[in-house]
Point group: C2
Chain length 202, copies 2
């Protein structure tokens, strides 16, 4: 298992934020202009940084080895996409307590697929990643939920989300969707990369 | 080859932007509040969308099969990261002309690694992806530059960038970095996923 504790952007390898100003502040995004001093350059550098809450992504695997994906309306990209379930982590205690992140992943699993871990199932950490390193501090924690089954209670969605379909895909079909450029969101592609590199899929 | 023409967020599967208001506007990011009407829901939905320029990422492969990566300071995440070279596409004609995107990829290759395609080399499109589909329209076009060699002229960096090292990695080492959660940016991980799914790496 990798990534057994939360990643902290604040730790930053001894980097110093010499100065910062908020340019824009909204519920889901804060744009800052920040000046940094780092170990690798003599001067200072100023950068515009969009700060975002962290997220959790989960690849739910059925006992037959296939993976559940959801088909969801995504307004920023004006597309309906097949993806692994994911959501923001809105409890700030996640920085101290990895179980808050695991709980967020399991909640998204239940809400967005109507499935949960089976008694013999397990949640495996696949580490974290950054969605756009020149632009935002946004990062997501990745999980494999190995052994899931239906809750019997269906999906639980909030107002904005629109999930049109939940379906199981064998690994060969997911690979084919990636090959055909049909799986196009970073979350799902990065989970696939980690599952490959860690040997969970061939 | 996939993704032989630019992707257009504007095409959006018949979605309608009923209303939009700019909440914040800056050189590299525009935050909008937009109301959408889609084929899949009866009512309308309002969403905050961060609009960004598109990008290009390139995986430069040496004749011996290894890949060049760069070690770069990334201020938004306060980290020094190993990544494939990448940059924004600042020429808006890319929406009509795929060669503008290819040129951006080849320019980043030269500027950030001091390498270019060899006469027998080729640039292979690996499609596109979206970095954070609930947040931003940002998308990047991915390429494999198969067969690169040194320009002899070194790197050409602009003011803000700080590339500390350029090095060739065999595929086994890249896989190991992904396994150990050391390769953490979406660009590089998504390129790896596409290279795997398309059979360019084992």
């Amino acid at each position: 298992m990798i990534g057994g504790e939360p990643f902290r952007v604040e730790d930053g390898e001894g980097w110093e934020r010499v100065e910062e100003a908020t340019l824009f502040d909204h519920r889901w995004i804060r744009v800052e202009q920040a000046t940094f001093r780092t170990r690798n350059r003599s001067g200072e550098v100023t950068w515009v940084v969009s700060r975002r809450p962290a997220g959790a992504v989960v690849a739910p695997q059925l006992p037959d080895g296939s993976f559940l994906m959801i088909r969801q309306e995504r307004y920023p990209v004006q597309r309906v996409l097949w993806e692994f379930p994911a959501g923001l982590i809105d409890d700030p205690r996640f920085r101290e307590d990895f179980s808050v992140i695991e709980a967020a992943a399991l909640r998204e699993l239940e809400e967005e697929t109507g499935h949960r871990l089976l008694p013999e199932g397990r949640l495996v950490s696949l580490g974290h990643y950054f969605s756009s390193v020149g632009f935002t501090d946004e990062h997501c924690y990745l999980f494999l939920a190995q052994g899931v089954g239906p809750t019997g209670e269906g999906l639980r969605l909030d107002g904005g989300e629109n999930i049109l379909e939940v379906r199981a895909f064998p690994v060969t079909e997911i690979r084919e969707m990636i090959r055909r450029n049909e799986l196009v969101d970073a979350n799902s592609l990065v989970v696939f990369a980690r599952l490959c590199a860690l040997g969970f899929i061939a």
